[in-house]
């Protein structure tokens, strides 16, 4: 079995701050990782994914994530947040032979003015 852990249920920062949202996984085989964003009252939207190669992947709106096999992590970062980044962020993993995602419990990001 595999698990996806997002250790922070809530993160609050000020506009212009940098932020890192944490994601750790436990699975011994080949996996693929992604991040999604959910604004209040809406469905999830794809942000970025990692398959292989450069461990730092770029997504939309200035988001990036870094894969670390040694730490079993795929943390999401943004250098300077905007109030519109306030949302819930979900990390997801997919095992190599399956077309289904397993989501973490989400981190609610609040950006204060």
């Amino acid at each position: 079995t595999q698990t996806v852990s997002q250790s922070d249920a809530h993160v609050t920062v000020f506009e212009g701050d940098s932020v890192e949202l944490r994601c750790n996984y436990s699975y011994g085989g080949s996996i693929y990782l992604s991040w999604y964003i959910q604004h209040h009252g809406h469905g999830l939207q794809f942000l970025l994914k990692y398959y292989s190669g450069n461990p730092v992947v770029q997504g939309v709106n200035g988001f990036e994530a870094e894969f670390s096999k040694s730490d079993s992590s795929f943390h999401l970062r943004k250098a300077s947040v905007h109030w519109s980044d306030s949302a819930v962020y979900f990390c997801a993993v997919r095992m190599s032979n399956y077309n289904v995602l397993y989501f973490g419990s989400g981190t609610k990001l609040t950006v204060e003015p």
């Binding site: 009252g41 999830l44 939207q45 994914k49 077309n99 289904v100 995602l101 419990s105």
Partner: protein
């Protein structure tokens, strides 16, 4: 133009009643998924499909059936609704590998 639509957006049902949630996608994706979202649980996969005529059980299929009559449509059926099925339900379509999924706006279901 929304590529994944769900209907109804809100539904109140009675215990023991039958509920059908509908999903339509215009992405021409083979894969479609039904999730429920509850506070503290994130998204949990109920059923999914690899194409018209196929349905597969996800992590929490008990009490739910699915139907994929065409590439575009994927329904979730609750034959005998229970209050524990009160939740927000999301449909998604996905690319061949399933990493990029496109979600509908959700259906809020309340079972009284």
């Amino acid at each position: 133009e929304a590529a994944v639509t769900q209907s109804p957006r809100n539904k109140v049902a009675v215990t023991g009643g039958k509920v059908t949630l509908s999903c339509n996608q215009t992405n021409n994706h083979n894969n479609m998924y039904w999730y429920r979202q509850d506070t503290g649980h994130g998204l949990r996969l109920i059923h999914y499909s690899y194409g018209a005529g196929s349905t597969e059980k996800g992590d929490i299929p008990d009490g739910y059936k699915a139907s994929r009559p065409s590439q575009e449509n994927f329904s979730l059926i609750l034959e005998l609704a229970t209050p524990s099925q009160t939740s927000v339900y999301f449909c998604a379509s996905g690319d061949a590998k399933g990493d990029e999924q496109y979600f509908g706006p959700g259906t809020r279901l309340t079972v009284l």
